[in-house]
Amino acid sequence: MTTVIDASIESDGSAAVPKGMNESQKSVTYGILQVAVVLAFLGIWELAAITKIVDPFFISSPTAVFAKAVDWIRDGTIYNHAIITLREALIGWVIGSVIGVLVGFVLGRVEPIRRVFVPLLHLINTLPRIALAPLFIFWFGIGELSKIILVVTIIVFIMIFNTYSGVLTVNNDFLLTARLYGKREWEIMREVIFPWIVPWIFVGLKLGLAWSLSGAVVGEFIAARGGIGYLIFNSASNLDNAGVLAGSVILLILAMVFFLIISMAEKALLKWRLPT
């Protein structure tokens, strides 16, 4: 038998980046490449619009979208609408997440409840909640409440499934260890199960964030007095594609800001996962 020592196994497979770069140099390089990709995309789009290769009536152009966003910021319209959408999305997200984590915990810990309800919950979850949006508006009015409830019904399922899957994977040795040292059931929950599922909860929170904004915006499409969805819908009615895209870009920026905040919270809470 021969032993082959293959030094290339040691490399991390980053063929595109020259060897010998350290981690911070790499992240700078990749960051620059990322910005370049975005700029190239915007450049091609702008060029296509200017040269009228594609009719700008249909695709608008980056500069038109930017101008529209600046208009909205300048005359103040965007603030009212953004606050409405944010309020709907965030309140729904928080309520849905809290309920989802609690329900997920119970489902994960109590087998009879899990066996009865999980299949039913999966069934209900296959129903696109967006389809129920008109009903929610009928029930809860065209104000913010109907959108909040729509968002809650979406988020709650995401959090339930994430939480209970997390609870089911808890390392049994940790549970035994806790029992061995005389921990009570609620202490086991707080000190073993909860820390264990924090990563699962964060996956749900991040996923839920995008969904909560979508839920609020779709609710506003159907009937609302304000909000970014309302703004986008009105722009579309006026065949103002720049307006539609400007509204979307603003949504994107809001989502990114929240995503960053959640990621920072995650890093702070999960520092045990990052060997220093």
């Binding site: 390392n171 040795d173 940790f174 035994l176 260890t177 806790a178 029992r179 061995l180 040292y181 005389g182 921990k183 202490e187 000190e191 073993v192 820390p195 924090v198 999960l270 520092k271 045990w272 996962r273 060997p275 220093t276």
Partner: protein, 271 residues
């Protein structure tokens, strides 16, 4: 010489009494009933160091689970300090698992404290610090398990097992997954600690040399469902030195003798 197959009888009032224990459990994955222990009778005297050797998966861990109070025997009786075992007794029994069971989100210090958060009076943190320094981990109090080597993690687990100063130690292959050098170091350290504090130890291993080196008595189990096949008295004087003992011709002779016995009974498996 040092070896004499033991039959019955010992002095009075053993600290751990396992009598006519039989155990079945349901495998959570396959749902099948497993016959883990056919019959076990073990008496451990106060201050005695007893090792249990046998092939992997032969039910050794089940025995420790029963003594610890984590599991109840299907049949038979288990008494510790004269009382029927009816649940865990953290202040009387320390139990170290084979697997790594440090909580990854707790620092080394907080992991040791985990053992004394219930029913312990006194300054928990300084007690945990003291324990970490006894196992040689000064300066690693705030390290997370992921930042420690395997050997260091087992030291933290050992500190957690010892921190409450339990009279009885149940050790389930505590050094089984370590490399040879680290293992020897840990064995020496454990020998030193257990001899000095005169603990009563029930030590499960599949490493015969380890068992002979540490113990006053070695019980040999058969494959599953396990029963006790043989028993050996080890009379090397204490305090012992693991490294010196391994080089001692008498120890080597003993090891070979026991090994031949076991192999002829075909109970050692390949573990």
């Amino acid at each position: 010489m040092n070896v004499q197959p033991e039959s019955a009888g010992f002095q009075a009032k053993p600290l751990i009494e396992i009598q006519a224990v039989e155990h079945w459990f349901r495998d959570s994955r396959t749902g099948k009933l497993v016959h883990a222990v056919k019959r076990a009778d073990v008496l451990v005297q106060r201050g005695e160091f007893v090792s249990v050797v046998g092939p992997s998966g032969c039910g050794k861990t089940t025995l420790l689970n029963i003594v610890s109070g984590l599991a109840r025997p299907t049949k038979g009786a288990v008494r510790v300090a004269g009382k029927e075992v009816a649940g865990v007794q953290p202040s009387l029994i320390g139990y170290m698992f084979a697997r790594d069971t440090l909580l990854p989100w707790r620092t080394a210090l907080a992991n040791v404290e985990f053992a004394i958060e219930r029913g312990f009076t006194g300054d928990r943190q300084s007690r945990a610090r003291e324990m970490l320094s006894i196992v040689g981990l000064n300066g690693f109090e705030s390290a997370y398990p992921d930042q420690l080597s395997h050997g260091m993690r087992q030291r933290v687990a050992l500190a957690r097992t010892l921190v409450r100063d339990p009279e009885i130690l149940l050790m389930d292959e505590p050094f089984g997954a370590l490399d040879a050098q680290t293992k020897l170091l840990m064995e020496e350290e454990f020998l030193r600690i257990s001899e000095r504090s005169k603990k009563t130890v029930l030590f499960v291993t599949h490493d015969l040399a380890e068992a002979l080196m540490l113990s006053d008595r070695v019980l040999v189990l058969s494959a599953r469902p396990c029963s006790i096949k043989a028993e050996y008295r080890i009379t090397f004087p204490r305090p012992r030195n693991a490294e010196a003992l391994q080089a001692n011709p008498k120890f080597i002779e003993l090891f070979q003798q026991v090994w031949r016995d076991l192999r002829s009974e075909n109970v050692m498996g390949t573990g």
